[in-house]
Symmetry: C2
Subunit: 470 residues, 2 copies
């Protein structure tokens, strides 16, 4: 529960009138709508905008931005509201541009393995639409997020170890700039050396440089075969050593997830399962029938070298689903482990050689705390999350949760990592930016922000720390 | 042979004195050295700098930049001089900073599959050094380029289809800014959502925003097995259809190279070989012995559906080398096809579904021209090159070569592609930027350039078209 106090601007009535004229009842100042648009799935205080504009086209977004710019009113883009670090909070007030009605899949180029969608398309909608083509879009951050939001936060998830993150899978973007101009950041060529990589500049920019309205994505053929495996380890170190060797041998695993002992206990209790209450790895393999079997055999051999027990392997869909059921229940199991408590999610990422150390020290820290914190990791990338369970109305628990979180981030930075592998900064992690990046990096971020958004109207107060903040 | 005329500044003597004091005989104004540093491997007129500063550390680069900035003198970074579009030409005069003495491999983190090198390390040096670790760095642009130069031009090459380009394989950079500050653009975490992607902003920025002095790279395990295959096709279309289906099936080929009929004729003549004089594909497969064999079998089946003949497959190293020998001789064979002529390289990249069309029309254009133009393509990415053979002292041939090149680029852009897949813009392709990207994109590039290099001292005249150029 953040205790920041921000100055809010007052949105002038003439701007609201203009927008109402443009959008009719697609401009809303209804309290419930405002509250919904100021509330994400994270931990931070809700900050409703002054109005929500439901846009239906890139041109409409451009027009709204121009009107807001004329009145110097902040603009906050909104996809699904599934972000976690206050990204969509209107902390300085202003107009929220809701892109959820921009939900058209504009092109699917099956031969080129790419597609073009409006920013409000969700990843589940996209994959449902793609099914008939034999293609899929692999990035899976858990939530059924919008593609625009996923691009804006540089999202990833469980299968980034094979398919990369949004950084790797966005081909190009259509963006409305702070001036209300429309830019296409690239074309459909798979690679190009023609100009600054504006695509990558906007991926992860969290709405602070402009508004992403359309996204071209790489797609992949649905694998001919998929198989899954699970196994339990005597220690987190043994599990992580298995991961390191798997990656180093170049075995192209699609997913490697670690669930720690406490997380397994939470799942057994929540879902009445009988898994070993020990660190477990969950694998998924994509390829031909022969290659997925070979991958599983190679991984089993490695895992056994590190003392794995109860190695189970499945290739039929229903058996795979049964094996992975525990992983899919991890979040709700953790949230329900202590009834009545909320969860503060964390998201550090370290070089894989330091992962065992990072998780072990985190585990010790949490075990020494009165709070309970199950751990889940996308370990192929060195990324892991604790869910710190706490009563948000108990100030001592809030302080303790923040202390644990701060120490996790300090530890990750000391080990050569980052404060966020995939959730982003929003305003929730703004105070880690100085330590992670240092003065010269932040000065360059501020120069770019100032050059592209000189009046600081695009999602102000997010991602780019103010100069006075250190 | 470009007929641009540029205004050159005069480098003030006091700056040269200061740099001489700093660097001793590592500041050179020797004519041969100047000429060498103004000459790349491409087609454009040489433009020697006024002096060459051989730097040995990031701090030294920062000091040189500060002195140059104080005197408002342009700064041109130089790695190996293997670029092709005038990237290193000192068209406005100034100081060339040669990074070739920054050739230390600073770290190899085998467990994390990454390393950190100074910018002057060449890719062959790196791979030689890595051999004992069982790891390798896959990006191979042909030339034994410096890693810093490869990052600055967003280079790729034959195996980008599997391993990506420099965009995908640079983890982070150390950069000296136009102000002489030193920035580290990221850390060793495999993924992060913390801040603007300054790494990707500098990859491909061609020295126009700052000077890359150190590079962290992703590495890969040397595959347990490699195999190679070649086959001939009745038409370019049939070859390209084979490529499309291979990619779409997700077969993880490491290399797919196309050589057209004329290129094969050049090779047979140059190397006294007896290959079919027909469009040929050259494949390389990386994986386990079983998976490379499976990949080859899958590709053979696809190729035969499209009428391939003479499919040959080899897994032993000497047999693989024999199969690929023709591909390795392609460049020199083309250069020697018409004795006494030079070659103008081209570099378009299109969506793979338009590749057959792009190559066919290019072939027809070239066949109707008095000039001879063999074609080689990194077809898995949709990227291909013609080498336009011409006498550089014959103005008619120069005009005709430029006409063919312009038409290739227009065609690529019409088909949704780019004027350069991997060579970059330098000043040689500057006049294509407007057509490829449009006003809003170029305005944003200029804003960023202006914000980070307000006095336009960093490799001026490259990559970012001046506002008056359209």
């Amino acid at each position: 529960m953040s205790d920041h106090v921000f100055e809010r601007i007052t949105v002038p009535e003439p701007l609201l009138d203009t927008l109402r004229q443009l959008l009719g009842d697609r401009l809303s100042t209804n309290t419930a709508i405002l509250t919904q648009h100021g509330t994400d799935e994270g931990w931070h205080q809700a900050s409703p905008p002054d109005a929500v504009a439901f846009a239906r086209s890139t041109e409409e977004v451009a027009t709204i931005v121009k009107h807001c710019a004329e009145h110097q009113v902040p603009i906050i883009p909104f996809g699904c509201g599934s972000s976690l670090e206050g990204h969509i909070a209107a902390i300085h007030g202003g107009i929220c541009i809701d892109l959820s009605q921009m939900d058209q899949i504009l092109e699917v180029n099956a031969e080129d393995l790419d597609c073009r969608v409006q920013a409000g398309v969700t990843r589940e909608q996209l994959n449902q639409d793609l099914r008939a083509t034999g293609l899929f879009f692999p990035i899976d951050p858990g939530a059924n997020a919008s593609i625009g939001g996923m691009a804006a936060t540089r999202a990833s998830g469980t299968n980034a170890v094979r398919y990369g993150t949004m950084r790797d899978n966005v081909l190009n973007l259509t963006v409305v700039t702070a001036q209300g101009d429309i830019i296409r950041t690239g074309n459909r060529a798979r690679k190009s050396s023609a100009g600054y990589d504006l695509t990558r500049l906007f991926v992860g920019s969290e709405g602070t440089l402009g508004i992403i309205t359309e996204v071209s994505l790489r797609l992949y053929g649905i694998p001919e075969a998929m198989s899954a495996a699970t196994c339990a380890f005597p220690s987190v170190d043994a599990a992580v050593d298995t991961v390191i060797q798997t990656i180093q041998m170049g075995i192209p695993v699609a997913r490697i997830e670690l669930l720690d002992e406490l997380q397994m206990k939470a799942i057994n209790r929540y879902a009445n399962m009988q898994h070993p209450e020990a660190p477990m790895l969950f694998f998924e393999f994509h390829g031909t029938p022969a290659s997925t079997q070979e991958q599983a055999e190679q991984v089993e051999a490695i895992a056994q070298d590190f003392g794995a027990q109860a190695f189970q392997w499945a290739s039929r869909q229903e058996d795979r689903n049964a094996l992975w059921a525990a992983r899919h229940k991890a979040y709700y199991a953790a949230m329900n482990f202590q009834p009545g408590k909320s969860g503060m999610p964390t998201d550090v990422c370290v070089p894989i050689s330091r992962l065992a150390e990072a998780i072990r020290e985190t585990r010790e820290d949490c075990d020494a705390s009165p709070l309970t914190c199950p751990i889940v990791g996308h370990v192929g990338d060195g990324n892991f999350h604790t869910l710190i369970l706490l009563d948000p109305n108990n100030p001592d628990e809030v302080t303790e949760a923040n202390r644990l979180h701060d120490r996790m981030v300090e530890r990750a930075l000391r080990l050569g990592g980052t404060c966020t592998g995939e959730h982003g900064i929003g305003y929730g992690k703004l105070n880690f930016m100085q330590t992670e990046h240092g003065d010269a990096y932040l000065a360059m971020m501020r120069s770019i922000k100032q050059a592209l958004d000189p009046h600081n109207l695009m999602n102000p107060g997010k991602l780019v720390p103010a100069e006075s903040s250190h």
